[in-house]
């Protein structure tokens, strides 16, 4: 594929991704906007792939590797922290409390 063709292809993907993003995200209720933000936060941790490629692909000098590795550290914090904190929040959203002792205990 020629370079400009590749670029057009990538821009097409970008436009579709934006359209899809707006569509899916506009359905998220305000109730969940904080988890949405921390969840998308985790998703942009995907830069970890870029950081790995830069740090690990051959033909490079020490500076590239070091900068790439720092990027790996930052992106890993982003990924792990993002997913863990989102899970912690979503765990708290409950329809009702778990039944109390006096419910279903047979007494009363």
């Amino acid at each position: 594929m020629s370079h400009s063709l590749l670029l057009v292809f990538e821009v097409t993907i970008l436009v579709l991704a934006v359209a899809l993003g707006f569509e899916v995200i506009s359905k998220v209720p305000t109730l969940l906007h904080t988890p949405l933000m921390s969840g998308t936060n985790a998703i942009h941790g995907i830069v970890i792939v870029g950081a790995m490629l830069v740090a690990g692909l051959g033909h490079k000098d020490t500076l590239t590797t070091v900068v790439g590795l720092v990027a790996v550290v930052l992106a890993s914090a982003n990924v792990v922290g993002g997913f863990v904190v989102t899970d912690r929040m979503l765990e708290m959203f409950k329809r009702r409390d778990p039944p109390r002792e006096d419910d279903g205990s047979g007494r009363n």
């Binding site: 998308t40 998703i43 830069v47 692909l57 590795l69 982003n78 997913f83």
Partner: protein, 463 residues
Amino acid sequence: MGRVATDLAYLATIVAFIFALKFLSHPSTARRGNWIGAVGMLIAIGITFAQKQIDSVWEILLGMAIGGAFGAVAARKVKMTAMPQMVALFNGVGGGAAALISLAEFHNLAPDSGRLHGDISVSIILSALIGSVSFAGSMVAFAKLQELIQGRPIVYAGQQVVNGLLLGAILAAGIAIVAGAERQWLIVALIGGALLFGVLFVLPIGGADMPVVISLLNAFTGLAAAATGFELENNVLIVSGMLVGASGTLLTLLMGRAMNRSLANVLFGAFGQIVAGPAAAADTNGGAVRSASADDVAVMLAYAQKVVVVPGYGMAVAQAQHDVRQLADLLEARGVEVSYAIHPVAGRMPGHMNVLLAEANVPYPQLKEMGDANPEFPRTDVALVIGANDVVNPDARSNAGSPIYGMPILNVDESQTVVVLKRSMNPGFAGIDNPLFLNPKTVMLFGDAKDSVAKLIAGVKAL
């Protein structure tokens, strides 16, 4: 692993991310969605390792262990009230990573001038610029929210001019690079300038506007990630970055609308340092503040049919949400219908109040968003306003001279009685008078929110 297999695996990641966001549309599926997203991320990381050109595997794993450990510990320890700064922090490191990737790519690809395709150099510059602004801006937002620096806007004369000149210089450096001057020092200068710009750009923005800023920085990091996708010709980065960009943009617009302020006004208006003008006081004449004792209010609540709690950030600051839930439980046990009306900008980030109440075990069906809550007020006996002020200020509806005129509010004044729990008669964060407090329907219960709610609990129990 071949390119085709790799790209197919990345496609699986993309699909996982889309489902993750889709499942976030309901609280019952949201947690599963987050897991699906995490699995998608693991697939992407795994397949990247499997590429046979990758070396320095151990170093990369070590880096992941360090970053991951930090992220995991921080995410487990953070208090729910501190969630906005946590999100800002993770947002910042993501932006920082994107900027570093660009720096390394540039160093790697352009040992001599004139070797880069235009689109590659443009993407490198965009991700370096946006990523750096996002990193530095997020760190300042973090420091403000964590109260390491003052939350009030920091302003000085000629601020806009300085920011404008700095941005101009950064763009000039970027254009020079694209035009062929592919010097290392230029990109380093560009990143340095962008970091400085990020700091200067968030400093003048007040604490109450943080929901907008955090959303915007979230969008920035998404865009920076997408730009690295163009550099590395990698679709998963482009798509994931743009999904985040779309989400951040939507939330930014939503927050702006909820405050009835344009983005430009939030970013450059230095709101919160303005003292309310004389026009703002127009509606407050001809009324007296009625204050009540906790026991009086407890009686009102206990014999009501329907009580709507309107929580504001003041409730969270006082850590009163658990007590509020206890009070609600007591009232429900007496047959009172209790729900919570939540303004979109209650808290320090979009949806923050819902998380704080969920943490206090409030069942989510009781949490009503503004559109659902407002029609309920006319048949509400008592609206219990706890630590909220501007979001229930009727001036936003009726006083064209008020700085918050036009902002959608919760119409608590349509209920039979309004009880306002407030520390004192001092105006709210934005320094604006609130005629609700002088409304004949309103009674004030002065004191710390947590103490007051504890007294109400005791009062209701004693009945």
